[in-house]
Amino acid sequence: MAWVNAIIQGVLIGGLYALFACGLSLMFGVMKVVNLAHGDLAVVAGYVAIGVIAVIHIPVLLSFVIVVPLMALVGYALQRTILQGALDRSVLTTLLVTFGLSVVIENGLLQFFTANSRGIGAGLALESDSFSLGSQIQIGYLPVVIFAVAVVVLLGLQYFLSRSKYGRLIRAVADDKEAAQLAGADYRHVFGIAAGIAFGTVALAGIAYGMYSQLDPTAGTDTILLFAFAAVVIGGLGSLWGTLLGGVILGVAQEIGAQINISDEVLAGFIVFLVVLAVRPQGLISRGAQS
């Protein structure tokens, strides 16, 4: 029973990892930007949520209504300014720029919020309540909600990319931005929109993480970015549903590792990550297989 429990908990936490990963995957799939500040931006979104909740006293679960659009605007602005500037030089420059951004954000957070960790919405019933499945399995409401949010986000993203005008433009620009220009599309604007969407998912990831665990200034690179990378690589670069599959596999591996020995939790996840990299470097769902 303990093993079944580990698998169920792993699957559910995979939803959180998919939220971490889908923005990273989108940015790479469309602009070829590997955003090393991805995790730090999620932490920023979490802190912004804490601030918004404290200042205007909205329910914790509604904080995303303000934080997600705000981060989407930040994403558009960042893409149109420094990220585009870096892209105009070379794709490798974006690595340096986002690494720099990551360092700046992390140290800025340490400066303003200290190294103390904080949760979002402490005392909320949803955070600690759970329901029982049989006698030995306890399932928390929060992981279920986060998993559901991740599925809804991925469904929404898929619908947007496949059906909407801008979704189509995003795919066209990802294929061939010069040809898109010849069709009258300003690829910089389209990049900005893609970054805005990615940052919106980053905001959700940061809030979800803050509710599930504790935010601190280093969580962005120590946890969120690393797990996002692992989920993206396991699932397959550029594949949306691959990020969910990757997240779930990472989550299950971690929970099973923890079941064997509590200190092996993170290690087990990265062993699976390494095995996938070695055996199937294109990921379990590669882009070619999907289309």
């Binding site: 005008k165 189509r168 220009q181 069709a183 599309a185």
Partner: protein
């Protein structure tokens, strides 16, 4: 300015619709690829309704000229004026919405998009005009049935047709066609050039680049030959001899016609 042809075919030039205003005026265009001077003082004027063909051997600068007109290369000096307005500084997407639309060499379709989605992207920023996705389907009837397929599943000729369709739905005033025949079977090339008449009937002006000289001479109302980035011949197909074209195309000094003050400057 233009080396030989402009003077030599002065009389022929009078028969072009010079009384009208040219739609496209390229003046003294110089384009560099790094250190290489890819285009050297190219000038041309294209009038509404014309089929203006640029011919020349590999590396003559034909594609560079078309891409510069479309805004994908920036000229070192010189200007591109379209419909009386200077568009030299405009980005490619702004030129497209003004009515200059290029069908690039190698087709460059969006590989992960279906045929229909390729056309939809082309129509996203379309100017008002006669071409719609439906009209493209009516013109190329096989396309409607296969609109859900990815373009990679189409043959080369079909892909080229989709690329033309994607450009047409933007309702360009001037269509730039870069090496339509590249990599296609002759019979397919014939069919694609056969469609040109229909395209022209909808009021477009066509500027095309073609390596196949006989093809260009058949369809063009005006030809312009480039050699190593310079103009070597210009005129109406009826007014140039095969020898002149050959000389201009290959740069054979001995076979050059008599009107060459500029021919001497050819290396």
């Amino acid at each position: 300015m233009t080396v030989s042809g402009a003077k030599g075919n002065g009389e022929a030039g009078e028969e072009r619709p010079d009384d009208g205003t040219p739609l496209l005026v390229v003046r003294d265009l110089v384009v560099h690829h790094g250190q290489l001077r890819a285009l050297d003082a190219i000038s041309l004027r294209v009038f509404p309704g014309e089929v203006y063909a640029i011919i020349g051997a590999n590396g003559a600068g034909k594609s560079t000229l078309l891409r510069t007109i479309a805004g994908l290369h920036h000229p070192t000096t010189g200007s591109v004026r379209f419909d009386g307005k200077d568009v030299t500084a405009l980005r490619p997407e702004r030129r497209a919405t003004q009515g200059i639309v290029l069908v690039p060499e190698g087709r460059r379709l969006f590989g992960s998009l279906s045929v229909q989605e390729n056309l939809q992207v082309g129509a996203t920023y379309a100017r008002p005009g006669p071409w719609t996705i439906d009209r493209v389907y009516e013109t190329f009837d096989w396309m409607r049935e296969r609109r859900g397929q990815l373009t990679a599943q189409l043959s080369g000729g079909e892909q080229q047709t989709v690329a033309i369709g994607r450009a047409l739905v933007a309702n360009p005033r001037m269509l730039l066609l870069d090496e339509l025949s590249l990599g296609l079977a002759p019979v397919v090339v014939q069919r694609i050039y056969g469609m040109l008449a229909q395209i022209l009937a909808s009021g477009l002006t066509v500027l095309l680049v073609e390596q196949d000289v006989s093809q260009a001479l058949r369809v063009a109302s005006h030809i312009h030959c480039l050699l190593e980035g310079r103009t070597t011949l210009e005129g109406r197909p009826a007014d140039v001899t095969a020898d002149q074209v050959e000389a201009a195309y290959f740069g054979l000094a001995g076979a050059a016609p008599a009107d060459q003050p500029g021919e001497g400057s050819e290396p």
